[in-house]
């Protein structure tokens, strides 16, 4: 980003950079990059735990309102201080390590999980000038970090020396591995069409507006819509989030791989799950929703990090909405969904994206045909595979009970 281009942005847009330069100004030249990076790390470490805290509150209140009740509203005005009360509770709880447990693994599992989740937050472009780490292969780094966090799940299940938590950890691992494939396959078209693995490059590829009000976001294309849907379902499963929260539901093997954890370590697991959710939503915003771009040209006065925040919060609220609506999937239903439904659809999405890319040169008269073919390539496999997998699973008929 050239200096002149930075000057053209509004002062609101440049505000984070101004603050950072204020803090790093006194440091002499060769060491300034260290201080700037430390400031970036500190900001991420400050913002995301706060986001986690208020996200738990928002989740409880939204879930409550959907269930015709107010949610927590006693601590502070309308319950706003509830997360801090929960934090104090978690900190003061007794930390129980079973006597037969492996103490090193038992301690390292939550640490590793949180570290990998935090590492994955480093490459997401939060704003026009706000990427903590601008890597050429940033997407690959992101998924390497989240794949490595599966190890911590296994360590947690193994360390407790509890055969039930080990069994649940293996089920959780099976779920995580199965949904890696649709997750990664659904973003291959994005990388293909943007021509780069760098998140800022992908955001830049979605710049511009047709006729001033139609953004070029990937979600507004047939393959992008399908890819976004597959990515969101797989992200729900990767973050162990309802309806895929089999690993941590209370009715499933106590608490799954978290059974032997209490107090602050349990809070760390919880926090790592929310970080993963935020990171995957951030990546979905980057890949499909145009990152920090404004949806209409005239709304560009809102700074880029503002748009990113709005989109991120909408996705997170969508997660909460889905949690409130859908019942939990069983492990075999979960695996079937990943391998027999999402994987074929993701593979067919590659074909759709290739068609879309190759037909980019079609004229204005052929656009309806292009869109029709694209949407048909998305909708027909969905309906066909969906129907084939749903045979025999229709509404139940009861022989003796009255309808």
């Amino acid at each position: 980003m050239t200096a002149e281009a930075i000057e053209l942005d509004s002062w609101l847009e440049r505000l984070p950079l101004t603050l950072r330069d204020l803090l790093a100004g006194p440091i002499p030249g060769p060491w300034r990059w260290i201080v700037q990076d430390v400031i970036a790390i500190a900001v991420v470490l400050a913002v995301f735990p706060l986001l986690f805290a208020f996200l738990t509150l928002a989740e409880r209140k939204v879930l409550g309102r959907i269930q015709n009740r107010p949610g927590p509203n006693r601590v502070g005005w309308g319950g706003i201080l509830q997360p801090f009360a929960d934090g104090i509770k978690m900190l003061t709880k007794e930390d129980i390590v079973p006597r037969a447990a492996d103490p090193v693994l038992h301690f390292l599992a939550p640490v590793a999980l949180v570290s990998f989740s935090l590492l994955s937050l480093a490459v997401i472009p939060y704003g026009r000038h706000l990427v903590p780490l601008d890597l050429d292969a940033g997407i690959l780094y992101f998924f390497a970090a989240s794949a490595s966090s599966e190890l911590a799940v296994f360590m947690a299940g193994w360390a407790g020396r509890n055969k039930y938590s080990l069994l649940a950890a293996m089920r959780a691992l099976a779920q995580l591995i199965s949904y890696e494939l649709p997750l990664l396959l659904s973003l291959v078209p994005v990388v293909m069409l943007a021509g780069t693995l760098s998140p800022s490059g992908i955001v830049a590829a979605q710049a511009g507006w047709s006729a001033g009000f139609l953004p070029h976001w990937n979600i507004l294309t047939p393959w992008g819509l399908a890819g976004f849907a597959i990515f969101m379902v797989a992200a729900l499963a990767e973050a162990n989030r309802s309806p895929f929260d089999l690993p941590e539901a209370e009715s499933e093997l106590i608490a799954g791989h978290l059974t032997e954890y209490s107090g602050f370590k349990y809070a760390l697991f919880f926090m790592a799950e929310y970080f993963a959710m935020c990171a995957l939503s951030g990546m979905a915003v980057t890949l499909f929703l145009g990152g920090w771009q404004a949806p209409v040209a005239i709304l560009q006065f809102v700074p880029s990090y503002g748009w990113f925040a709005i989109k991120l919060l909408s996705l997170l609220l969508g997660f909460i909405w889905i949690r409130a609506t859908l019942p939990r999937l069983r492990i075999d239903q979960l695996m079937r969904l990943a391998w027999k439904f999402l994987l074929p659809l993701a593979l067919i999405n590659l074909v759709t994206a290739s068609f879309w890319h190759l037909s980019a040169g079609w004229g204005a008269a052929a656009q309806p045909l292009r869109w029709g073919l694209g949407l048909a390539l998305v909708a027909v496999p969905f309906v066909v595979i969906g129907r084939r997998l749903s045979t025999g699973l229709g509404p139940r008929t009861y022989r003796y009970a009255a309808p």
Binding site: V62, R65, I66, Q67, N68, R69, P70, N73, W321, I322, A324, T325, L326, F382, V383, G386, R387, L389, S390
Partner: protein, 212 residues
């Protein structure tokens, strides 16, 4: 088609979310303690002793220390000691009264058997439930002074039941007065002597019906 059920479900939850802000049917929580639920009339918690007059509760208790409730109470949470002397009751008759009447409400299970067997409508069920304490011994042992409530209070918490009890007791009192008035003047003629037999008042009802 696959997915339509999910979309319908999402629409239902969204309607619930939006409705919870303006539709009382979609927000059914009573925000205790700022708001209180209206208790149904036949809600019961622990017993209380009925006193006719709220200015002198100890002197006007209906209880005559017959100890039927003590014997019938399943967890045996009532402890009664009879008095040595007698006092006139509301009808003027000399009755014993309870010198000690303790109920251990940590034992009481609110079964209402004491109310059902009392021949004198002296013990009724109260509706108070905000009685949490931090000491599980003395504050949960209610003595006679703590148990006594006036009949006016009984009429407030159980109107239907109190009306029925008051009517019955008033009728019994009236019958007793008519019987006393019929006995008082000497019989004028010989055939009047058969009158007391037919005008014998009904005995007070043995069981109390508490349907409300």
């Amino acid at each position: 088609m696959l997915g339509t059920g999910i979309l319908k479900g999402l629409a239902v939850t969204a309607k619930n979310l939006a409705g919870s802000f303006h539709d009382p049917g979609r927000f059914v929580t009573t925000q205790y303690p700022e708001q209180r639920s209206v208790l149904p009339e036949n809600y019961r918690n622990f017993p209380f002793l009925v006193a006719e007059d709220d200015k002198d509760p100890m002197g006007t208790l209906r209880c005559v220390a017959c100890q039927i409730c003590e014997k019938e109470c399943p967890p045996q949470c009532i402890y009664i000691e009879k008095s040595r002397d007698k006092k006139p009751d509301a009808a003027g008759k000399m009755q014993l009264y309870p010198a000690v009447f303790d109920i251990d409400i940590s034992v009481c299970m609110s079964c209402q058997i004491c109310v059902e067997v009392c021949p004198f409508d002296a013990i009724k069920m109260d509706q108070e439930f905000e009685i949490a304490t931090d000491n599980r011994f003395r504050p949960l042992l209610r003595d006679r002074e703590q148990l006594a409530r006036s009949n006016r209070y009984f009429q407030q918490v159980h109107p239907t039941e109190a009306a029925e009890v008051d009517a019955r007791l008033a009728a019994a009192r009236r019958a007793a007065e008519e019987k006393a008035a019929a006995k008082a003047p000497p019989p004028a003629r010989q055939e009047v002597q058969t009158k007391p037999a037919t005008e014998r008042p009904d005995p007070p009802a043995g069981g109390i019906k508490t349907e409300a």
